[in-house]
Symmetry: C2
Subunit: 348 residues, 2 copies
Amino acid sequence: MTETPQKPDQKAARVIGKPTLKTISKLSGLAIPTVSRALSDAPDISEKTKEKIREIAAEIGYVPNRAGVRLRTGKTLVISLILAPDSELMPHTAQLITSIAQTLRETPYHLNVTPYLPDDDPMKPIRQIVENRLADAVILNRTQADDPRVAYLLDKKFPFATHGRTNMSERHAYFDYDNTAFGDFAVRHLAEKGRKSIVLLAPMRNQVYATHMIQGTLDAATDIGSTLTVLDGVNSDEKIEDIRKAIALHLRLNPECDGLICGSGVAAMAAAVGAADAGRNIGVDFDIFSKEATSILRFCHPNILTIREDVSEAGKFLANAVVSALSDPDAAPKQGLQVPSEADLNFA
Amino acid sequence: MTETPQKPDQKAARVIGKPTLKTISKLSGLAIPTVSRALSDAPDISEKTKEKIREIAAEIGYVPNRAGVRLRTGKTLVISLILAPDSELMPHTAQLITSIAQTLRETPYHLNVTPYLPDDDPMKPIRQIVENRLADAVILNRTQADDPRVAYLLDKKFPFATHGRTNMSERHAYFDYDNTAFGDFAVRHLAEKGRKSIVLLAPMRNQVYATHMIQGTLDAATDIGSTLTVLDGVNSDEKIEDIRKAIALHLRLNPECDGLICGSGVAAMAAAVGAADAGRNIGVDFDIFSKEATSILRFCHPNILTIREDVSEAGKFLANAVVSALSDPDAAPKQGLQVPSEADLNFA
DNA sequence: TCTGAAATCTAAAACGTTATAGATTTTTCT
DNA sequence: AGAAAAATCTATAACGTTTTAGATTTCAGA
């Protein structure tokens, strides 16, 4: 195919540096706004022109300049993940980050990560992002029932999604693991093994999912006649050594206790050591039922009963939720629940 | 203090929306470029003016608009972390991300995260970032000896730092754990326990640190008269089930083998199970020496010998390395090595 | 053939920043 | 005091994009 330049502007076509709308404008002989509108498929540009411009754009590998777009439109094309501090559930966090980023790869959005420390003000990163418009939307993890961050974002009408529900869940996008169902599942599963005197090592009480887990286990216990105690004074986010001691103590004081439920793989490991301290023989006279994100727990402690939580699904869902909230701000917030099923038991 | 507006422009001071240079300009009665230059401490602005402008800026909470800066200067104020796919060392990854992000919080840079999958082209994310200038610098992990990403970045003179060394290390910033020293340490430590017939479960061979670890263990073994075998056909990045099988097989075929060295906590767990499969009693007739980023391994398997790798230090170092490379492009690349010490042994 | 509407394009302006060159004022020196 | 030099500030332009209003062309209808 021989290139015979005709109408297109001769003076230009300097292919120096990154191509911009100006480059396409010169190559096509059309004005810059025309090029812009053509590429955004505006109705007042003829199909013929659009086609021509799209062709040139593809050929020279035009990619819109993010700073230009951001300055003009205010859209940052950034999603910010705000990471609450977590003691030991780091694999969980890494999976969340990578799955969100993977999902965003098919969109123009970039992911940036803003962690805060236990003694930082949780509101600070959020306020910075909202006030300085550093992102188009945020994703939060480790939500509390009455989460001030969520209240603030709702008030500011800033797009967001949470990993975990809140009091205000019906008004925002979220993805959650169904910890009520998990609790129910755990109690019944232990009962099948003959364990009906159970202790629950719950998450931090201000985390919503602690409430769910407690509710689920309590209801199921009542239903099938198991006894259930919620372990006091220690939670599954605590340091492993503290968990170990607390479990050992509890089991020594309650010899009849023959089962433990726990929502975190790491905590389950600590609990297992504590149970051994108290003379329990896991799988023989005592059973532990735990959730876990990776398969390490199940692998190292084959006699601990585990059920899989697929954190990647959460990441994927949350990413999609914010992206679609941004593309259609008036649509109902996307909400998802991952329900534990038999298939996830002791997964390979 | 009573505000008595005098010289400052009356017509303006509309405090609507985010304050910009224009806002300060109107409030101060000075031209926008003057304000800009004052805030960047340019020499041709009088100290008195600078003081006045800084005061106003602080008072109204001026924060430079990133899009404006980026468009004008080309600086994105973004550091991009490119995450190579890793099978099981996710806690490692999460720690790296959060420590980098924490460190960057004290700078104007934001961290964004770009993971790629095992079957993706590792060059793609890098090329995108460099060609479209999506970041001012990148940080890479899991480097190979002859890493094409590193070669490309060197060639393009794009600022970066790596977690792990390469063939071209002297020419770029890096932080690495001293796996040679680790290997040495491990062999000697096992020898002290009387274990002198040792197998090494090395990382993937194309990872530079595999070479280091092999070198360190081999040299030390030669030095003190231990025998060392590098386990063939399986590496510490493999699936845990495969590691388990390979270790069990090796130990069955080599009854004299009484020690194992391994660079990953998760792999050590798998190895422990494999050793048990082969009838070894860890801590009694067999010892495992492993590195680990968290304390879980040591906690769950107190009879596995561990030494701490502080990944947070890596993140901190890498973040500082790229930031200072950006502020002083001609300075020698920052290079750091974390050397294992007695103090890190079986840390709490 | 002419009028008005529809279709299609362009010109100008703006988002917030900084570099450059030029303008103005102040200081210094003779 | 007057001229040159230094100090200090301003005007202009540009980065790449999109929105708005306006210009031009095309076409249907009379």
